[in-house]
């Protein structure tokens, strides 16, 4: 027994062990979750309906604005450019183009937000509350008894969740583009990928941190997850550019700042700038520039991963002391 132990405790063994653990735990999410074709209906088609509601509202407002511009009256022979009559045909054409661009930018913002909703819901229901569910079905004690690092377990859940949700998010994005005719202009694909992955890592890092907390809170965690759906959709600007809130005096900036602690907020803001151009919405609705947002996201990713590591270690010890790791059968 002692020889075998000595052979198995070197660094190479530990790295191999934890990589295998990540692979093993991500497997059910990547392979298992796609075995049920019903996901196409529930996780691609239904979210599209949610997106459609916002898109139609924005398109209606865009249509109204365009009608005001193109309607010629004696007082405004070139239509209305905002509150004033357009000066000439060129001003009218420019105003109509701006309305068209803004409508496209709003619809594109909704489609992007809709794809990010998939990740946020995955973080809430399949990361944060996952350890609690693992305990309920009896898996948790088997995980905690295994020699792998606990972060490898969470890492596997996160990698699996990212891959699985990316497939769903891409299908929503493609359907959104095809159905609503959204036009994206990606100027810097590398930056876009960097922001996307930094957002996902920060988001899933937050989920990993929540996972350990939920382990102790048990069933109450369910309510917390439900609480963090709609309010976060709003405060993180899933369906509108978050910078818009900053222009509302009083409560607007407070909500926007609070929402920015969820990595999806800044991530979405940066992704919108990178896919719509930073001049979209007259450059009025962005929180920070893309580079600053990327730096904050990287900082959040590192912070959340470190906090997740310490939370899990502390709460595992606490749970073992209180007998909560295995309470299902006790």
């Amino acid at each position: 027994m002692s020889e075998a132990k000595a052979r198995r405790s070197d660094l190479r063994y530990r790295i191999g062990l934890n990589l295998r653990a990540v692979k093993g735990r991500s497997y059910p999410r990547i392979v298992g979750a796609n075995r049920e074709p019903s996901w196409i209906f529930f996780e691609a088609f239904l979210p599209l309906l949610g997106i459609a509601a916002y898109v139609f509202v924005y398109q209606f407002f865009g249509g109204q604005a365009l009608a005001a511009i193109t309607t010629k009256t004696t007082a405004a022979p070139w239509g209305m450019c905002g509150h004033d009559p357009c000066a000439n045909a060129a001003a009218q054409a420019a105003a109509a183009a701006a309305v068209g661009a803004n409508t496209n930018a709003l619809v594109a913002s909704v489609v992007l937000g809709g794809t990010m909703v998939a990740f946020w819901l995955n973080v809430l229901w399949s990361m944060a509350s996952q350890l609690y569910w693992e305990k309920e079905i009896g898996n948790l004690q088997l995980y905690m008894m295994a020699p792998m690092n606990r972060m490898a377990l969470l890492g596997g859940m996160a990698v699996g969740g990212m891959v699985m949700t990316s497939m769903r998010a891409i299908s929503t994005l493609v359907a959104g583009v095809l159905v609503f005719g959204v036009i994206f202009q990606v100027a810097s694909p590398l930056m876009l990928l960097a922001v996307f992955f930094a957002t996902l890592i920060a988001l899933y890092g937050l989920g990993m941190m929540f996972a350990s907390l939920y382990l102790l809170w048990g069933r109450e965690a369910w309510n917390l997850s439900a609480l963090m759906e709609e309010p976060i959709f709003f405060s993180s600007g899933f369906y509108f550019p978050l910078g818009g809130l900053l222009r509302i005096p009083g409560w607007g900036p407070a909500i926007a700042i609070a929402g920015s602690f969820i990595p999806a907020s800044l991530g979405l803001d940066a992704l919108r700038q990178l896919t719509l151009g930073s001049t979209a919405f007259g450059s009025n609705f962005w929180i920070f520039d893309v580079t600053t947002e990327l730096e904050i996201l990287v900082g959040m990713a590192v912070l959340f991963l470190i906090l997740a590591r310490y939370c899990l270690a502390y709460l595992e010890t606490l749970a073992k002391r209180e007998g909560k790791l295995t309470s299902r059968h006790q």
Binding site: M1, K5, R20, Y27, G32, N139, P147
Partner: protein, 335 residues
């Protein structure tokens, strides 16, 4: 002598809970006091031993296994597994152990049986090729080969438990904790598991099994040594033969009688060391087991029963079993 498992004055106390329940239209807070699940348990299990823990539900068997499997911290005392302290040094322990519990519902329903076992093997760093080879071999042995590609949610309880057993063996542990592994299984499935576990320990050097069960015959048939545990205390620890020899000077009688309610007379009867009873409500019968110092009180027992107007359907003098040992020690059976 190296020990696979060693505990010294191991104690585990679960904190009390406040329970809220409705009583006569009122919400009432009830405190459930601390529960001593293990009370100064000292135990040594040698490497290569198939060691049994025998005790009724709530005796502390599962708590002990969970402490040894590094899932629960002891309140006081020390537990060493493979020479390492479960509290201070769990990593080397986790490399050499595995655990299978009866009635386990672990795994993911969308994965196949084979995939599920493979997934768990990855948490122990078993290379996929090795793991898949072992899984196929074990699936043949446990008669699960036909179900290898069936989704877990489609498996029966017995098939699922066989899958769990394979999960326990696929990592090739040195020490295996089996917590009521045959619970709820049919005779054949239980036999396959018992045979494999016994051969696994006997056929290889350095493999140790700690088996908890409340099936007497299972413990008697499989184990090298057995500890009898009740209310968190080890009452006796020896080979099955020696345990039974402890009460061989006593006499065991089993009676099947009409359902009997008044048992108080027996507890004060001269010569009755201990007794237990089980009721079969459907048949309206009671089954009594008496541990007697000698055959003297038999006549008095029979007259007490008949005086209550009850009929004696059978009376049998028998060789002591492990259950008799338990009854002799604690004054009640397992059920």
């Amino acid at each position: 002598m190296s020990y696979a498992v060693e505990t010294r004055d191991l104690t585990r106390i679960f904190a009390g809970k406040k329970k809220r329940r409705r009583k006569a239209e009122e919400e009432v807070d009830e405190s459930v006091g601390p529960v001593t699940a293990l009370d100064n348990v000292s135990l040594k299990i040698e490497e290569g031993e198939l060691f049994g823990m025998l005790g009724p539900n709530g005796a502390g068997k599962t708590t002990l296994i969970k402490i040894l499997a590094t899932l629960l911290l002891p309140t006081s005392g020390q537990a060493l597994v493979a020479g390492h302290d479960v509290t201070k040094d769990p990593f080397p322990i986790r490399q050499v152990i595995n655990m299978v519990s009866g009635g386990e519902t672990s795994g993911y329903g969308l994965l196949t049986a084979r995939e599920n076992i493979w997934m768990f093997s990855q948490f122990y760093g078993v290379p996929s090729k090795v793991s898949k080879g072992r899984i196929d071999e074990l699936m043949h042995i446990f008669g699960l080969w036909d179900k290898r590609n069936a989704k877990v949610r489609m498996l029966s309880t017995g098939q699922r438990q066989k899958m769990n057993m394979i999960r326990g063996f696929v990592t090739d542990p040195d020490i295996l904790f089996l917590d009521e592994p045959t619970l709820g299984l049919d005779v054949n499935a239980a036999r396959v598991i018992r045979e494999y576990v016994t051969n696994w320990v006997r056929g290889q050097k350095g493999k140790t099994v700690l088996l908890t069960t409340h099936y007497m015959a299972e413990a008697d048939q499989m184990c090298d040594r057995i500890a009898i545990i009740d209310k968190g205390k080890i009452l006796a620890c020896d080979t099955p033969e020696n345990l039974k020899r402890m009460i061989r000077t006593e006499t065991t009688f089993r009676l099947e009688v009409d359902a009997i309610r008044d048992l108080t007379t027996f507890s004060t009867m001269q010569g009755v060391k201990n007794f237990s009873h089980k009721d079969d409500i459907a048949k309206n019968r009671s089954f009594l087991t008496f541990i007697l110092e000698d055959e003297g009180p038999v006549a008095e027992i029979l007259s007490t029963i008949t005086l209550q107007g009850k009929k004696v359907h059978s009376l049998q003098k028998s060789e002591p079993t492990l259950e008799d040992v338990f009854i002799s020690m604690v004054g009640r059976g397992f059920e």
